[in-house]
Symmetry: C2
Subunit: 191 residues, 2 copies
Amino acid sequence: MGNMGRWEPNAQERLRQAALELYGERGFEQTTVAEIARRAGLTERTFFRYFTDKPEVLFDGSDALQDGIVARVADAPDSAAPLDAVTSALEATAEFFHGVRDYAVKRQAVIKANAGLLERELIKMARLASAIALALRQRGVGEPAATLAAEAGVAAFKTAFQRWVSEPEQQDFAALIRESIDDLKAVTAGR
Amino acid sequence: MGNMGRWEPNAQERLRQAALELYGERGFEQTTVAEIARRAGLTERTFFRYFTDKPEVLFDGSDALQDGIVARVADAPDSAAPLDAVTSALEATAEFFHGVRDYAVKRQAVIKANAGLLERELIKMARLASAIALALRQRGVGEPAATLAAEAGVAAFKTAFQRWVSEPEQQDFAALIRESIDDLKAVTAGR
Protein backbone atom coordinates (compact mmCIF):
# COMPACT_ATOMS: atom_id res chain seq x y z
CA MET A 1 0.00 0.00 0.00
CA GLY A 2 2.76 2.45 -0.86
CA ASN A 3 5.53 3.98 1.13
CA MET A 4 4.31 4.79 4.66
CA GLY A 5 7.49 6.74 5.53
CA ARG A 6 7.61 10.33 6.68
CA TRP A 7 8.04 11.83 3.28
CA GLU A 8 5.29 10.91 0.84
CA PRO A 9 5.72 12.04 -2.74
CA ASN A 10 2.63 13.87 -4.03
CA ALA A 11 0.75 13.11 -0.83
CA GLN A 12 -1.54 16.11 -1.18
CA GLU A 13 -2.34 15.30 -4.79
CA ARG A 14 -2.98 11.61 -4.00
CA LEU A 15 -5.31 12.58 -1.13
CA ARG A 16 -7.18 15.01 -3.33
CA GLN A 17 -7.61 12.41 -6.05
CA ALA A 18 -8.76 9.75 -3.57
CA ALA A 19 -11.22 12.14 -1.91
CA LEU A 20 -12.75 13.19 -5.20
CA GLU A 21 -13.16 9.55 -6.29
CA LEU A 22 -14.86 8.62 -3.02
CA TYR A 23 -17.09 11.72 -2.92
CA GLY A 24 -18.22 10.82 -6.44
CA GLU A 25 -18.75 7.11 -5.71
CA ARG A 26 -20.38 7.25 -2.26
CA GLY A 27 -21.37 10.86 -1.80
CA PHE A 28 -19.58 13.52 0.23
CA GLU A 29 -21.43 12.89 3.53
CA GLN A 30 -20.85 9.13 3.41
CA THR A 31 -17.09 9.39 2.95
CA THR A 32 -14.77 9.42 5.98
CA VAL A 33 -11.26 10.85 6.24
CA ALA A 34 -10.05 7.33 7.18
CA GLU A 35 -11.38 6.01 3.86
CA ILE A 36 -9.76 8.83 1.90
CA ALA A 37 -6.40 8.16 3.57
CA ARG A 38 -6.70 4.38 2.95
CA ARG A 39 -7.56 4.88 -0.73
CA ALA A 40 -4.53 7.16 -1.11
CA GLY A 41 -2.29 4.67 0.72
CA LEU A 42 -1.61 7.22 3.45
CA THR A 43 -2.57 7.85 7.08
CA GLU A 44 -5.30 10.10 8.54
CA ARG A 45 -2.52 12.07 10.18
CA THR A 46 -1.07 12.82 6.76
CA PHE A 47 -4.52 13.95 5.56
CA PHE A 48 -4.72 16.48 8.39
CA ARG A 49 -1.23 17.73 7.59
CA TYR A 50 -2.63 19.01 4.27
CA PHE A 51 -6.35 19.66 4.89
CA THR A 52 -8.25 20.95 7.92
CA ASP A 53 -11.39 18.93 7.09
CA LYS A 54 -13.28 17.03 4.37
CA PRO A 55 -14.67 20.07 2.48
CA GLU A 56 -11.23 21.74 2.48
CA VAL A 57 -10.11 19.23 -0.18
CA LEU A 58 -12.58 20.87 -2.57
CA PHE A 59 -11.94 24.48 -1.60
CA ASP A 60 -8.25 24.83 -0.81
CA GLY A 61 -7.55 26.24 -4.28
CA SER A 62 -9.96 29.16 -3.82
CA ASP A 63 -7.56 31.32 -1.83
CA ALA A 64 -4.80 31.01 -4.43
CA LEU A 65 -7.32 31.78 -7.18
CA GLN A 66 -8.57 34.86 -5.31
CA ASP A 67 -5.04 36.08 -4.52
CA GLY A 68 -4.04 35.74 -8.18
CA ILE A 69 -7.07 37.68 -9.40
CA VAL A 70 -6.65 40.43 -6.80
CA ALA A 71 -2.92 40.83 -7.61
CA ARG A 72 -3.73 41.22 -11.31
CA VAL A 73 -6.47 43.79 -10.67
CA ALA A 74 -3.91 45.75 -8.65
CA ASP A 75 -1.32 45.46 -11.46
CA ALA A 76 -3.61 46.59 -14.30
CA PRO A 77 -2.46 49.75 -16.13
CA ASP A 78 -3.60 52.98 -14.45
CA SER A 79 -5.56 53.83 -17.58
CA ALA A 80 -7.68 50.64 -17.44
CA ALA A 81 -11.40 51.18 -16.74
CA PRO A 82 -12.64 49.19 -13.68
CA LEU A 83 -14.36 46.40 -15.64
CA ASP A 84 -11.39 46.11 -18.02
CA ALA A 85 -9.01 45.63 -15.07
CA VAL A 86 -11.33 42.91 -13.73
CA THR A 87 -11.71 41.24 -17.14
CA SER A 88 -7.93 40.99 -17.68
CA ALA A 89 -7.49 39.53 -14.20
CA LEU A 90 -10.21 36.92 -14.84
CA GLU A 91 -8.78 36.01 -18.26
CA ALA A 92 -5.44 35.31 -16.57
CA THR A 93 -7.07 32.56 -14.47
CA ALA A 94 -6.97 30.42 -17.63
CA GLU A 95 -3.43 29.55 -16.52
CA PHE A 96 -4.75 28.42 -13.11
CA PHE A 97 -7.34 26.15 -14.76
CA HIS A 98 -5.01 24.80 -17.44
CA GLY A 99 -4.91 20.99 -17.42
CA VAL A 100 -7.36 20.55 -14.52
CA ARG A 101 -10.64 20.41 -16.41
CA ASP A 102 -11.31 16.73 -15.51
CA TYR A 103 -10.76 17.57 -11.86
CA ALA A 104 -13.03 20.64 -12.12
CA VAL A 105 -15.85 18.62 -13.73
CA LYS A 106 -15.78 15.99 -10.97
CA ARG A 107 -15.51 18.64 -8.25
CA GLN A 108 -18.52 20.50 -9.68
CA ALA A 109 -20.62 17.30 -9.68
CA VAL A 110 -19.80 16.66 -5.99
CA ILE A 111 -20.61 20.24 -5.00
CA LYS A 112 -23.90 20.32 -6.93
CA ALA A 113 -25.08 17.19 -5.08
CA ASN A 114 -24.66 18.70 -1.60
CA ALA A 115 -26.51 21.80 -0.33
CA GLY A 116 -23.84 22.64 2.26
CA LEU A 117 -21.02 22.51 -0.31
CA LEU A 118 -23.07 24.57 -2.74
CA GLU A 119 -23.52 27.24 -0.05
CA ARG A 120 -19.79 27.19 0.67
CA GLU A 121 -19.10 27.73 -3.04
CA LEU A 122 -21.56 30.66 -3.15
CA ILE A 123 -19.85 32.22 -0.14
CA LYS A 124 -16.42 31.82 -1.77
CA MET A 125 -17.71 33.62 -4.87
CA ALA A 126 -19.20 36.41 -2.74
CA ARG A 127 -15.85 36.79 -0.94
CA LEU A 128 -14.07 36.92 -4.29
CA ALA A 129 -16.35 39.79 -5.35
CA SER A 130 -15.62 41.66 -2.09
CA ALA A 131 -11.87 41.17 -2.53
CA ILE A 132 -11.99 42.45 -6.13
CA ALA A 133 -14.06 45.48 -5.05
CA LEU A 134 -11.44 46.28 -2.39
CA ALA A 135 -8.62 45.99 -4.97
CA LEU A 136 -10.53 48.40 -7.24
CA ARG A 137 -11.04 50.91 -4.41
CA GLN A 138 -7.30 50.74 -3.77
CA ARG A 139 -6.84 51.75 -7.43
CA GLY A 140 -8.96 54.82 -6.68
CA VAL A 141 -12.27 53.55 -8.07
CA GLY A 142 -15.20 54.96 -6.07
CA GLU A 143 -18.31 53.24 -4.78
CA PRO A 144 -20.69 51.95 -6.02
CA ALA A 145 -18.63 51.51 -9.23
CA ALA A 146 -16.05 49.26 -7.50
CA THR A 147 -18.66 46.88 -6.08
CA LEU A 148 -20.72 46.83 -9.27
CA ALA A 149 -17.69 46.12 -11.50
CA ALA A 150 -16.56 43.37 -9.11
CA GLU A 151 -20.01 41.75 -8.89
CA ALA A 152 -20.50 41.97 -12.66
CA GLY A 153 -17.07 40.41 -13.21
CA VAL A 154 -17.78 37.53 -10.82
CA ALA A 155 -21.16 36.93 -12.52
CA ALA A 156 -19.32 36.64 -15.85
CA PHE A 157 -16.70 34.39 -14.25
CA LYS A 158 -19.38 32.01 -12.91
CA THR A 159 -21.06 31.88 -16.31
CA ALA A 160 -17.76 31.19 -18.08
CA PHE A 161 -16.84 28.50 -15.55
CA GLN A 162 -20.23 26.83 -15.92
CA ARG A 163 -19.76 26.70 -19.70
CA TRP A 164 -16.19 25.44 -19.35
CA VAL A 165 -17.23 22.42 -17.26
CA SER A 166 -20.42 21.64 -19.21
CA GLU A 167 -19.23 22.20 -22.79
CA PRO A 168 -16.34 19.77 -23.47
CA GLU A 169 -15.56 21.41 -26.82
CA GLN A 170 -14.94 24.75 -25.05
CA GLN A 171 -11.41 24.47 -23.67
CA ASP A 172 -10.24 28.06 -23.96
CA PHE A 173 -11.13 29.57 -20.59
CA ALA A 174 -9.86 33.06 -21.43
CA ALA A 175 -12.08 33.11 -24.55
CA LEU A 176 -15.07 32.05 -22.43
CA ILE A 177 -14.38 34.93 -20.01
CA ARG A 178 -14.29 37.41 -22.89
CA GLU A 179 -17.55 35.99 -24.31
CA SER A 180 -19.25 36.22 -20.92
CA ILE A 181 -18.14 39.82 -20.47
CA ASP A 182 -19.47 40.61 -23.96
CA ASP A 183 -22.77 38.88 -23.09
CA LEU A 184 -22.95 40.95 -19.90
CA LYS A 185 -22.34 44.16 -21.84
CA ALA A 186 -25.10 43.23 -24.28
CA VAL A 187 -27.52 42.51 -21.42
CA THR A 188 -26.81 45.76 -19.60
CA ALA A 189 -27.01 47.73 -22.85
CA GLY A 190 -30.61 46.47 -23.04
CA ARG A 191 -30.18 43.96 -25.84
CA MET B 1 -47.05 41.52 31.14
CA GLY B 2 -49.82 41.60 28.54
CA ASN B 3 -52.59 39.18 27.74
CA MET B 4 -51.32 35.58 28.02
CA GLY B 5 -54.45 34.13 26.40
CA ARG B 6 -54.52 31.99 23.29
CA TRP B 7 -54.97 34.83 20.86
CA GLU B 8 -52.24 37.45 21.08
CA PRO B 9 -52.71 40.61 19.03
CA ASN B 10 -49.61 41.37 16.91
CA ALA B 11 -47.70 38.53 18.54
CA GLN B 12 -45.41 38.07 15.53
CA GLU B 13 -44.62 41.77 15.33
CA ARG B 14 -43.98 42.01 19.09
CA LEU B 15 -41.63 39.00 18.93
CA ARG B 16 -39.77 40.47 15.98
CA GLN B 17 -39.36 43.81 17.74
CA ALA B 18 -38.20 42.15 20.99
CA ALA B 19 -35.74 39.91 19.14
CA LEU B 20 -34.22 42.80 17.22
CA GLU B 21 -33.81 44.84 20.43
CA LEU B 22 -32.10 41.96 22.21
CA TYR B 23 -29.87 41.01 19.26
CA GLY B 24 -28.77 44.65 19.16
CA GLU B 25 -28.23 44.96 22.94
CA ARG B 26 -26.59 41.61 23.73
CA GLY B 27 -25.60 40.19 20.38
CA PHE B 28 -27.37 37.51 18.37
CA GLU B 29 -25.50 34.53 19.90
CA GLN B 30 -26.07 35.65 23.49
CA THR B 31 -29.84 36.01 23.12
CA THR B 32 -32.14 33.07 23.91
CA VAL B 33 -35.65 32.41 22.61
CA ALA B 34 -36.84 32.46 26.25
CA GLU B 35 -35.53 36.03 26.61
CA ILE B 36 -37.17 37.13 23.37
CA ALA B 37 -40.52 35.70 24.47
CA ARG B 38 -40.21 37.31 27.93
CA ARG B 39 -39.38 40.73 26.46
CA ALA B 40 -42.42 40.44 24.16
CA GLY B 41 -44.65 39.35 27.08
CA LEU B 42 -45.31 36.02 25.34
CA THR B 43 -44.33 32.37 25.72
CA GLU B 44 -41.59 30.37 23.96
CA ARG B 45 -44.35 28.22 22.54
CA THR B 46 -45.82 31.31 20.85
CA PHE B 47 -42.39 32.16 19.46
CA PHE B 48 -42.15 28.77 17.79
CA ARG B 49 -45.65 29.18 16.36
CA TYR B 50 -44.27 32.02 14.22
CA PHE B 51 -40.56 31.29 13.76
CA THR B 52 -38.64 28.03 13.34
CA ASP B 53 -35.51 29.40 15.07
CA LYS B 54 -33.64 32.55 16.13
CA PRO B 55 -32.26 33.53 12.71
CA GLU B 56 -35.69 33.08 11.09
CA VAL B 57 -36.83 36.31 12.79
CA LEU B 58 -34.37 38.16 10.55
CA PHE B 59 -35.01 36.24 7.34
CA ASP B 60 -38.71 35.38 7.22
CA GLY B 61 -39.41 38.33 4.94
CA SER B 62 -37.00 37.11 2.25
CA ASP B 63 -39.40 34.60 0.70
CA ALA B 64 -42.17 37.20 0.30
CA LEU B 65 -39.65 39.63 -1.19
CA GLN B 66 -38.40 37.00 -3.64
CA ASP B 67 -41.93 35.91 -4.60
CA GLY B 68 -42.94 39.51 -5.26
CA ILE B 69 -39.91 40.16 -7.46
CA VAL B 70 -40.33 36.92 -9.42
CA ALA B 71 -44.05 37.59 -10.02
CA ARG B 72 -43.26 41.04 -11.39
CA VAL B 73 -40.52 39.73 -13.70
CA ALA B 74 -43.08 37.25 -15.04
CA ASP B 75 -45.68 40.02 -15.52
CA ALA B 76 -43.41 42.46 -17.37
CA PRO B 77 -44.55 43.35 -20.91
CA ASP B 78 -43.41 40.87 -23.57
CA SER B 79 -41.46 43.64 -25.23
CA ALA B 80 -39.33 44.39 -22.11
CA ALA B 81 -35.61 43.57 -22.47
CA PRO B 82 -34.36 41.19 -19.72
CA LEU B 83 -32.63 43.82 -17.57
CA ASP B 84 -35.62 46.19 -17.94
CA ALA B 85 -37.97 43.48 -16.67
CA VAL B 86 -35.66 42.94 -13.69
CA THR B 87 -35.29 46.68 -13.02
CA SER B 88 -39.07 47.25 -12.92
CA ALA B 89 -39.50 44.30 -10.56
CA LEU B 90 -36.78 45.63 -8.23
CA GLU B 91 -38.21 49.18 -8.28
CA ALA B 92 -41.54 47.74 -7.15
CA THR B 93 -39.91 46.45 -3.94
CA ALA B 94 -40.03 50.09 -2.74
CA GLU B 95 -43.56 49.23 -1.59
CA PHE B 96 -42.23 46.26 0.42
CA PHE B 97 -39.64 48.46 2.15
CA HIS B 98 -41.99 51.42 2.72
CA GLY B 99 -42.10 52.41 6.39
CA VAL B 100 -39.64 49.75 7.61
CA ARG B 101 -36.36 51.62 7.24
CA ASP B 102 -35.68 51.75 11.01
CA TYR B 103 -36.22 48.00 11.20
CA ALA B 104 -33.96 47.44 8.17
CA VAL B 105 -31.15 49.53 9.67
CA LYS B 106 -31.21 47.59 12.96
CA ARG B 107 -31.48 44.25 11.15
CA GLN B 108 -28.47 45.14 8.97
CA ALA B 109 -26.37 46.02 12.06
CA VAL B 110 -27.17 42.65 13.67
CA ILE B 111 -26.36 40.72 10.49
CA LYS B 112 -23.08 42.55 9.89
CA ALA B 113 -21.89 41.63 13.40
CA ASN B 114 -22.30 37.86 12.89
CA ALA B 115 -20.43 35.81 10.26
CA GLY B 116 -23.10 33.08 10.16
CA LEU B 117 -25.92 35.57 9.58
CA LEU B 118 -23.88 37.36 6.93
CA GLU B 119 -23.43 34.05 5.11
CA ARG B 120 -27.15 33.35 5.35
CA GLU B 121 -27.86 36.78 3.82
CA LEU B 122 -25.40 36.09 0.97
CA ILE B 123 -27.09 32.77 0.28
CA LYS B 124 -30.54 34.43 0.24
CA MET B 125 -29.25 36.92 -2.34
CA ALA B 126 -27.76 34.12 -4.45
CA ARG B 127 -31.10 32.28 -4.32
CA LEU B 128 -32.89 35.47 -5.35
CA ALA B 129 -30.61 35.71 -8.41
CA SER B 130 -31.34 32.07 -9.32
CA ALA B 131 -35.10 32.62 -8.97
CA ILE B 132 -34.98 35.74 -11.17
CA ALA B 133 -32.91 33.87 -13.80
CA LEU B 134 -35.54 31.10 -13.83
CA ALA B 135 -38.36 33.66 -14.25
CA LEU B 136 -36.45 35.18 -17.19
CA ARG B 137 -35.94 31.78 -18.83
CA GLN B 138 -39.68 31.19 -18.49
CA ARG B 139 -40.15 34.43 -20.46
CA GLY B 140 -38.04 32.88 -23.22
CA VAL B 141 -34.72 34.58 -22.38
CA GLY B 142 -31.80 32.28 -23.21
CA GLU B 143 -28.68 31.51 -21.20
CA PRO B 144 -26.30 33.05 -20.29
CA ALA B 145 -28.37 36.26 -20.74
CA ALA B 146 -30.94 35.21 -18.10
CA THR B 147 -28.32 34.49 -15.43
CA LEU B 148 -26.27 37.58 -16.25
CA ALA B 149 -29.30 39.91 -16.18
CA ALA B 150 -30.41 38.36 -12.87
CA GLU B 151 -26.97 38.61 -11.26
CA ALA B 152 -26.48 42.16 -12.50
CA GLY B 153 -29.92 43.11 -11.16
CA VAL B 154 -29.19 41.60 -7.74
CA ALA B 155 -25.82 43.40 -7.62
CA ALA B 156 -27.67 46.69 -8.25
CA PHE B 157 -30.28 45.74 -5.64
CA LYS B 158 -27.61 45.11 -2.99
CA THR B 159 -25.93 48.43 -3.79
CA ALA B 160 -29.23 50.31 -3.61
CA PHE B 161 -30.15 48.59 -0.33
CA GLN B 162 -26.76 49.43 1.17
CA ARG B 163 -27.23 53.10 0.27
CA TRP B 164 -30.81 53.09 1.58
CA VAL B 165 -29.76 51.90 5.05
CA SER B 166 -26.59 53.99 5.27
CA GLU B 167 -27.78 57.30 3.77
CA PRO B 168 -30.67 58.60 5.90
CA GLU B 169 -31.45 61.36 3.42
CA GLN B 170 -32.07 58.76 0.69
CA GLN B 171 -35.59 57.51 1.35
CA ASP B 172 -36.78 56.81 -2.19
CA PHE B 173 -35.86 53.17 -2.74
CA ALA B 174 -37.14 53.03 -6.33
CA ALA B 175 -34.93 56.02 -7.22
CA LEU B 176 -31.93 54.26 -5.63
CA ILE B 177 -32.61 51.16 -7.74
CA ARG B 178 -32.71 53.25 -10.92
CA GLU B 179 -29.46 55.01 -9.93
CA SER B 180 -27.74 51.68 -9.22
CA ILE B 181 -28.85 50.27 -12.57
CA ASP B 182 -27.54 53.41 -14.28
CA ASP B 183 -24.23 53.05 -12.37
CA LEU B 184 -24.06 49.42 -13.50
CA LYS B 185 -24.67 50.42 -17.12
CA ALA B 186 -21.91 53.01 -16.88
CA VAL B 187 -19.47 50.45 -15.42
CA THR B 188 -20.19 47.81 -18.05
CA ALA B 189 -20.00 50.40 -20.83
CA GLY B 190 -16.39 50.97 -19.68
CA ARG B 191 -16.86 54.36 -18.03
